[in-house]
Symmetry: C2
Subunit: 406 residues, 2 copies
Amino acid sequence: MTGTPFDFARLFAPDVPPPAARWNGRVKFDFTGGNNDPDSLPLDGLIAAAESVLRREGRRLAIYGVEHGPQGYRPLRDFVAGKLAADAGIACTADDIVLTSGSNHGLDLVNATFLARGDTVIIEENCYQSAINRFNRIGAKVVGIPLDANGMRMDALSNALEALERRGVRPKYIYTIPTVQNPTATILPVERRREMLELAQAHGVLIFEDDCYADLTWSGRRPPAILAMSGRGGVIHVGSFSKTIAPALRVGYVVAPWEVMSRMLALKTDAGSGALEQMILAEYCARSFSRHVPQLRRALRAKLETLVEALREHFGASAAFDDPEGGIFLWVKLPDGVDTTRLYEAALAKGVAINPGEQWSVNREHARSRLRLCFASASHEEIHQGIAALAEVCRRDFGVRRQGTP
Amino acid sequence: MTGTPFDFARLFAPDVPPPAARWNGRVKFDFTGGNNDPDSLPLDGLIAAAESVLRREGRRLAIYGVEHGPQGYRPLRDFVAGKLAADAGIACTADDIVLTSGSNHGLDLVNATFLARGDTVIIEENCYQSAINRFNRIGAKVVGIPLDANGMRMDALSNALEALERRGVRPKYIYTIPTVQNPTATILPVERRREMLELAQAHGVLIFEDDCYADLTWSGRRPPAILAMSGRGGVIHVGSFSKTIAPALRVGYVVAPWEVMSRMLALKTDAGSGALEQMILAEYCARSFSRHVPQLRRALRAKLETLVEALREHFGASAAFDDPEGGIFLWVKLPDGVDTTRLYEAALAKGVAINPGEQWSVNREHARSRLRLCFASASHEEIHQGIAALAEVCRRDFGVRRQGTP
């Protein structure tokens, strides 16, 4: 397949993105991506679930959607409905849920339903990279709202909505990760959720709530979902099993009323998302989800403590961060002189992968010296060694020295 | 979630498709869709494969792409490369293959790489409905080429390419299902494949070869893939496990050189396709694929024989068709007066689902009295009963009577 003289490039669509780089395996110290703790993966439970659900109804795999229709395997939708009621206060049924190939697929379906080139979307100014990339690819205009220790600032949101209204612009939606925000790990308090709903209602704007990390608070408690607090609708909710069970299992979901669901289903032309993963997950979760998640939270919190310890040891006050209340990532501020996009390159050469702030933000100035460190997948020892290696690169290339206790 | 007063519809994107209908379960006699024979599903093998691959390397599910990168689980790509070499004569390696969420996902990635609104695509005039729908949604202009008993007619292709050239139009590609064509079940002979390659080369057009049904020839033999015959490249090849193992497992693949692969990977923003399905499939196929497929072919051929028998019994010469050399569907011609789109509605009311010809063709006049009957998933008894019920609707609503032996 090499050296072919056919010139494909002249046939590419005009908007095709630049080529991806070749995969060269994972780096030694990987602090990127939503990878999870391998030791916490409930392997025995998943194996038992696979055997039992396949033995009972595996022959249904011969039928697209395992005879449960385009919204996905019904027992998993039933489980999600029950979980959302118990944990997030959302009143919905399996009919309001579509299972997707990860929550990214949910983002695509919602975006395709609502967004056209030139539309405006409001987001937290530090935000999930893949969401930002999706909006950019669609050609949507993104307005970032600053966050504080309690998530999106409602004064700033109110100002932004008014400024847009003065310009005659009505945004399509507010895309928000209110519970364990990515990358800041902030949790939006109930009062702000209410305020966001009021602002959205006043301006006729939809709220698109991404709840992917909401199961991973250290306390096990979380505010009600914005969807749960919305009396009159106007909220679409997306979630995932990537963070609680396994990211390589591509199973997420969107909760939406039929008016929206029926359009998303018309756009969902994948002949169903992977049914085997849905079946195994449903079987496992019905038995064990509520026992598994608290164990996972403890393991993740222990990893975070190791990361914080390593940062204190090797950076001291030169690395500043808030103590997250949950999740799998830490949003870290280095001294102003450090350009984390340059740091990313230098660290990679030493076998350390980080997420540079500029990829996780639409506020370049703010994000320039910030980075995201994901702590779930590396072992405790790798966290220590990796942060030591990162500190060494910071010292050598950027003159960052350990400062006294922050 | 009902009765919400929020008006979502005013926020929909201008090109959002019409709403999907609610799922009401499968009809009693379902002759639609690429569903397969439940009794042939290799359930014990899949269960054993799940246990063994998860026990050995299940903890990798904690990492996106199970540490095999964005092209998917390496052992399955190795299996596909070996299978394509042995069966289709294609020389490629795992590096030339990306695993997708079914071949539909492959169609989307290839289309997104090459097609823009207004582009022209050449297809067989009777063609896979989801491919036609995709081209329409993108806004591509579709040129249909007539088929005969040996697939796409090369004289007609040559004429169409010349006519386009005279108008200054260079099509992006020829999308073809050369081996067990959907819906006609024709197999394009080697000579025509060579001719298609020459025409494509002469006109600077890419060939997009969809080989989804190629494993299902009754003889177990097939011509070499067009990709295999292409010395200088210019062919992209897509395949699937839906037809050989199980459609609800969403695993397909695209074979393409890095120049194209690197663009498709940049467009593949799903954080990987379902790894669990890839792992189980790889484990199963390495052991048993070559034993399983011949058994499946025999079961499918027996179903076809039952369908042919039922059509002879209830329609006689009123239902005309060529005897397919493989696959899971029969393309049937009813008397000229029968509009199969109307028949579809009338039959559905009696619990019989068919694919009306107009949905499987861009030549309305030709397709108007034709229909596609899928025979893999119904039992032999259901085939007999369903065809009897269909014949009764044809008699009652369209005056179609059984004619003497065709």
